[in-house]
Amino acid sequence: MNKAGKFNRRNFIKIAVSASGGLLLSFKLPQINLAAENVKDHKLNIFVEVVTDNTVKITAPLPELGQGVRTALPMILADEMDVSWESVKVIQAQANEKFGGMTVGGSFSVAGYYDAMRGAGALARELLISAAEKRLNVPRENLVTKENKVINKTNGKSFTYGELAEEAAKIPRPEKIPLKDSKDFNFIGKSVKRVDIDDIVTGKAGYGYDVEVPGMLYAMIERCPVHGGLVKKFDAGNALKISGVKQVFELKPLVVGGQKYGAIRGGIVIVADGFWSAQKGREALEIEWDEGENAKFGTDELRKTFQQLKDKPGQKVIYKKGNTEKAFKTEKKQITAEYELPILAHGCLEPMNFTADVKPDSCRMWGPTQAPRNIQNLVAEMLKIPAEKVEVNLTLAGGGFGRRLAYDYAMEAAAVSKEVGKPIKLVWTRPDSTHHDYFRPPSYHFMKAALNENDELIGWYHHIATASLLKNINVGDVQYPEVYDVTGAADFPYDVQNLLVEYTSVDVGVQMGSWRSVSHSFNVFAVNSFLDEIAQTAEIDPLEFQLKLLGKSRDVEIQLDLPGSRGKPGWNTGRLVNVLKLAAEKGGWGKPLPKGRGRGIACCFFKKTYVAQVAEVSVSTKGKLKIHRLITAIDCGRVVNPDGVLAQVEGAAMDGAATVTKWEITAKNGRVEQSTFKDFPLLTIDEAPPLEVYIVPSEEHPAGTGEPPYPAVAPAITNAIFAATGKRIRRLPFKSEE
């Protein structure tokens, strides 16, 4: 199962050393006194401080949104450093360029920081061994490390890390930093509970909404219900009569540095002494809006715009192989289909919020975000102060799912604090968070396939029509509007001679943004649904059809005219075949089912993670869907925290089920029609499908798990609906009354 893993082993070590060398620039930093007397901590590098009482403080460089990084990343370091997990205290990093990008996105956290965390742990261990070497005056090869101790293996004499810390912190960084052999890992590969769990179950865990700063006031903003609308005039008279309301003023729209993820939409700000008074003040406001162009936008009209693209070429050819025109001219057996996916909100349970305390030449901030350094840089640009004068403290976040990659609410907090001259907790309500989300773009897919006389797929056409994410998050013209919209489709992993993927971007009158798995979230649905339709039409088993198209195990890399890694997607077909076979086997693929039930299968790869899902469903006579089983097989390289991977897959699977049955954002006259969980409902416990998750053992470099398990869930379910009922679901969500 993990054959591919053996190939890259050498490569993997090499990358590890160079990456850690790149990040660990400063290991000589000032010592910090702890509150306890006679206890000092000694910084061994930017990630590690060893306290004289043998506590090891490990800095988690990325914010925690529920994905488990505050646990997984320190685990990697602790393992490499040979410390007991009980001795570890996790410290949350503030925004700082020393910690790299610090953005939580692209399922990059463990994949991207694995080498750095290992390197930091290895460096700390090396320094501690050097300190012991000096003290014991014995050759280095006699020294081993175990559970916060350096031990002389010839006589068992040992020093604790705490005893060696002060000395170790003075030793210059060695040239070579050897890494552990993976067979010596203590925690990597074993399930560890999340470090914040005790605080979460007792209500002590601190989220953004819980931040309290002395002298702080609350602020809410009434924004135009139509995206891009402006204040024409307003009357604050009644609002100011509400006790607790301190100030009402207009905040003008502002986009700093061309980054719409940090856009201040503008509106009327209510400053008050609490949430309730702010809310009451807000209700008493009288505002007249200039709604602007987007007031004409509606999702019904958008649907027509999409439908008018039928049979028309796309604005841009994304990938072309062979000659599809010829294939579609000559082959008699042709299949066409259209798929349609809606706009989606994120629905993070913690509404947007951030706290800022702007002073004339500095700013302190606290809150939940996926992009702390973007906040730091953009707030600095807005306030015209150096970035190092902006302190961004990371709280826990009540969910992210891509929403908190945008930091509009943090920019608002800083702008309002500056205006008021006091610390401000800027809070959004639930309807605010729904109406002014950075939505998952809608999409429409025009598909065409040609089969030869042997029912072999020899022509594939996919025209993706969506709202360009890049155009939505940048000001002005962009060179590659499609860059975030075509993966999951253009990187078509199946061996088809003639392939054409086209793209069209349409304008949408609400703000678009990143949403769990980005373009995979729609393209994988279209690709897997259509493959299933082709297989069913040709009367070939859908699994057999996929396996045949993937062919023998091999590495594939293609060139697309796109910048960065998106321009050269690569994958291993064998790893995709592996997960397909594993999910099929566990799901009893091909075995008889009770009457009325059907099975569906789908798969995808996302960067270096491979996932397949099998769903087993039935649909009642009233049209109600029941998911009896949902099986996931995932190959995400080496697993750091298996229970963390399970949690991510569980979450993604629930999201997939909600995508099929519930989620849709609509707009009319420029207004988003949903407000709360009443009209954008989350899955409930009685609707939660039973899940089974199988992780492929692997020695490949760790890859991401936050997004990859999501995209194939929906098509696995809808393919199963077809198998059970003969009804093909081409539009999501699937409405039971249809």
């Binding site: 949104l65 529920g66 994905q67 488990g68 399930s191 509970k193 999340r194 914040d196 769990i197 005790d198 979460i200 179950v201 007792t202 209500g203 002590k204 865990a205 601190g206 989220y207 909404y209 819980d210 309290e212 009644n238 609002a239 009569k241 509400i242 006790s243 609490g274 949430f275 309730w276 008074s277 009451k280 008493a284 629905g347 993070c348 349970l349 913690e350 509404p351 826990l396 976040a397 009540g398 992210g400 639930r430 949690a647 569980e650 979450g651 993604a652 699977a653 629930m654 999201d655 709360t676 969980f677 009443k678 989350l682 899955l683 409930t684 416990i685 009685d686 939660a688 039973p690 899940l691």
Partner: protein, 165 residues
């Protein structure tokens, strides 16, 4: 559409401690707990009583505090997540840890308070009974299967404790 706030005095007993609060009687209890009493374990998720993140016990009943006027809680006995157990060792809290339930964790205080009410009335709930009691507590991350397991686990602990008595 708007009205001036009417400030009055209210007496609340929260986690065994008596408090006198001077505030607008229409202000939801959630904001009194969070802002006046600094008990931030009860969360603001929706403000419409839909998600359950703000759930506390009032005279033993699980209640949504984001839509409950503080005047309605006057003189009542309130238990929040902070007061569910002295040492954070309520069987549900221990079970939540054993099953490693939370992802983002934001809904979990409400989930635990709702589950605690369930176990008070039914110490050995079936899956269906759990679903019925818990289906108005929303989790965006998808931890439902673990929540169900954790409730069964806590139920077993309670049953064992009863047998040992």
């Amino acid at each position: 559409m708007w009205e001036l706030l009417k400030v009055d005095k209210y007496f609340l007993r929260v986690n065994g401690k008596k408090h006198q609060i001077k505030t607008d009687g229409a202000k939801p209890l959630l904001w009194v707990l969070r802002e006046d009493l600094n008990l931030t374990g009860s969360k603001f998720g929706c403000g419409f009583g839909i998600c359950g993140a703000c759930t506390v016990h009032i005279d033993g009943k699980a209640v949504r505090t984001c839509i409950l006027a503080v005047s309605e809680a006057d003189g009542k006995n309130i238990i929040t997540i902070e007061g569910l157990s002295k040492e954070g060792d309520h069987p549900l809290q221990k079970a939540w840890i054993a099953e490693n339930v939370p992802q983002c964790g934001y809904c979990q205080a409400g989930q635990i308070m709702q589950a605690a009410e369930l176990l008070e009335h039914n110490s050995t709930p079936t899956d269906e009974e759990i679903d019925k009691a818990m289906k108005k507590n929303l989790c965006r991350c998808g931890t439902y299967l673990r929540i169900r397991r954790a409730i069964h686990r806590a139920s077993k602990t309670l049953k064992k404790a009863k047998l040992d008595e």
